[in-house]
């Protein structure tokens, strides 16, 4: 009985959380321009989206491309920078370690608006023209701390003798790094990469302040501009539905793989 009530509570909350997403999904199957009105079942929005023939020009397609390029670039750099730094931080002691860990936590505590405004002022101050590069730099800034925090715990689980053993057996430091250290850190790096990628995809405020005036739009800024104009591009509905289904499938796969490998440490996202 207690278990039933507990489960009922969880599922009621989940029903609330998923209501808006279900709403998007339902209205992706109608052609009506206005979100929330139904003009009969139709798959045309999916067809438009997949053929790139989106109403209102190719703004949405460009925004999707920009979002993916920025997210990929930022999360690759953040993963490399974060992993290298985590190894460095792990080997630091005392005050230095505390300081860099504190600095690392600032971008995570700072609200997006503050991160955005502060980086905007930096680029203005340095007379750095804003566009693609500044958005990617800004995303690296808020992504890297999460990579550092995903890799650090793996380092403390690591047996330091394995790396030394590789060196003793004649591996060069770079070989030992590539063949011994990196493979053992891989799961932490992957978690960091996925976190970075999803945060970059979802970011609005930081992009908004650092994209400059060259007309660079990501999915978030595109949706914002669209909503301000009054009237979302209808193809956003099937797009969000498809994204959701892809994530559902990917997480499902990760979850079954993880439960198969029966690792003691649970997934961290």
């Amino acid at each position: 009985m207690k278990k039933f009530l507990a489960q009922a509570y969880l599922w009621i909350l989940l029903a609330f959380l998923y209501a808006p997403i279900a709403f998007i999904a339902i209205y992706s199957f109608t052609e009506a321009k206005a979100f929330g009105s139904w003009s009969g079942f139709s798959m045309n929005l999916y067809k438009n989206l997949l053929t790139g023939n989106v109403s209102g020009g190719n703004g949405l397609v460009a925004a999707i491309e920009n979002t993916l390029v920025i997210a990929l670039a930022a999360s690759i750099v953040a993963t490399i920078l974060g992993t290298v730094s985590a190894i460095g931080i792990f080997n630091l002691r005392g005050r230095k370690k505390k300081t860099i860990q504190f600095l690392n936590s600032i971008p995570m505590i700072n609200p997006d608006v503050i991160t955005g405004v502060s980086l905007f002022l930096l680029f203005v101050f340095l007379h750095f023209s804003q566009g693609y590069l500044t958005v990617i730099l800004a995303h690296i800034t808020f992504c890297t701390p999460y990579v550092v925090l995903s890799v650090l715990p793996r380092l403390s689980q690591l047996n330091p003798n394995i790396y030394e053993a590789a060196l003793d057996l004649g591996a060069t430091p770079s070989q030992a790094l590539r063949k011994v250290l990196i493979p053992q850190l891989r799961s932490g790096m992957l978690t960091g990469f996925i976190l970075s990628f999803t945060m970059s995809l979802d970011d609005f405020a930081v992009t908004f302040f650092t994209r400059g005036t060259i007309g660079l739009e990501t999915l978030s800024t595109f949706i914002y501009a669209d909503a301000r104009k009054g009237g979302l591009t209808p193809e956003l509905r099937p797009l969000m539905t498809l994204i959701f289904i892809i994530i559902l499938v990917v997480l499902g796969l990760i979850n079954t793989r993880q439960s198969k490998s029966k690792q003691a440490n649970h997934i961290n996202f």
């Binding site: 489960q7 909350l13 460095g88 908004f208 978030s220 949706i223 959701f244 559902l248």
Partner: protein, 256 residues
């Protein structure tokens, strides 16, 4: 001393350039006037700017309400999720964070549209509801993480020594889950105060939150006043963080 500690150096330089310097620039711009001279008028202006002051008050009020509701709804959920007797599968826990992968603006617009079609007038009520939608996972997850890692034998020991289940909860579980609660509050309260766009969408432009005022000033090239408002925001962040004792370990508990 291991020389691999020097690997942290590039990141240290990066952090100084992209985190420390930008924050110092907020302070610098806040105390300068348009022509670059020193002034305190940007900061004093806030305290005489009725619009900004009332927005600030509304933001704090909405953030407190949002945080409290998230905590009241989220704690039981996190507790159930972490309790092996009540919830066996990790899938339910994943379901709670899954909505975060859908663009937050899009989810917010859908929420507003959903309210519209159900016949609710957009305003304060829908704002709080929508905010809870957006931030509940950020409250549940850190608490869930802490509860999951908690050593269950403390509770068992308390029960063996004669504590009732409610005493075990109040005197053992709740105090031990404090770090999770604090980092949950940190992850809900500050972002709510500073949010922009979301509040306008959920209230049909009727209610602005503090982040919007900052954005409006920056976007209309009032950089100095925008920086001053950001500085005020930063001071509040600093205070909340100190009060909640949020150091890097607790933030780690909240890693998504």
């Amino acid at each position: 001393m291991n020389k691999r500690s020097s690997w942290a150096l590039p990141y240290l330089i990066f952090l100084v350039l992209f985190v420390v310097l930008p924050l110092l620039l907020i302070a610098l711009y806040a105390i300068r006037d348009g022509s670059g001279g020193f002034t305190l008028s940007n900061l004093t202006r806030f305290f005489t700017d009725g619009d900004a002051l009332s927005t600030f008050a509304v933001s704090i009020e909405v953030a407190i309400e949002n945080t409290l509701i998230c905590l009241l709804l989220g704690y039981p959920a996190a507790w159930i999720l972490a309790n092996k007797d009540l919830n066996k599968s990790a899938v339910t826990a994943i379901l709670f964070i899954l909505p975060m992968w859908i663009n937050a603006l899009m989810r917010t617009l859908a929420t507003a549209e959903l309210f519209n079609s159900l016949g609710f007038t957009l305003g304060k009520g829908t704002l709080i509801f929508g905010m809870v939608y957006d931030y509940l996972p950020f409250m549940i997850y850190p608490i869930y993480n802490v509860l999951l890692k908690m050593d269950k034998s403390y509770g068992e020991a308390a029960a063996d020594l004669g504590a009732t289940p409610s005493e075990v909860f109040r005197k053992v579980t709740l105090p031990l889950s404090k770090p999770g609660i604090f980092s949950g509050i940190l992850m809900v309260f500050m972002p709510t105060v500073s949010t922009f766009a979301i509040s306008e969408f959920l209230t049909n432009n009727k209610i602005k939150l503090f982040g919007t005022i900052i954005q409006e000033n920056i976007n209309s090239s009032m950089w100095n006043y925008g920086a001053a408002l950001s500085l005020i925001m930063l001071v509040i962040i600093g205070l909340t963080t100190i009060i909640l004792g949020g150091d890097e370990r607790e933030v780690e508990g909240g890693t998504l």
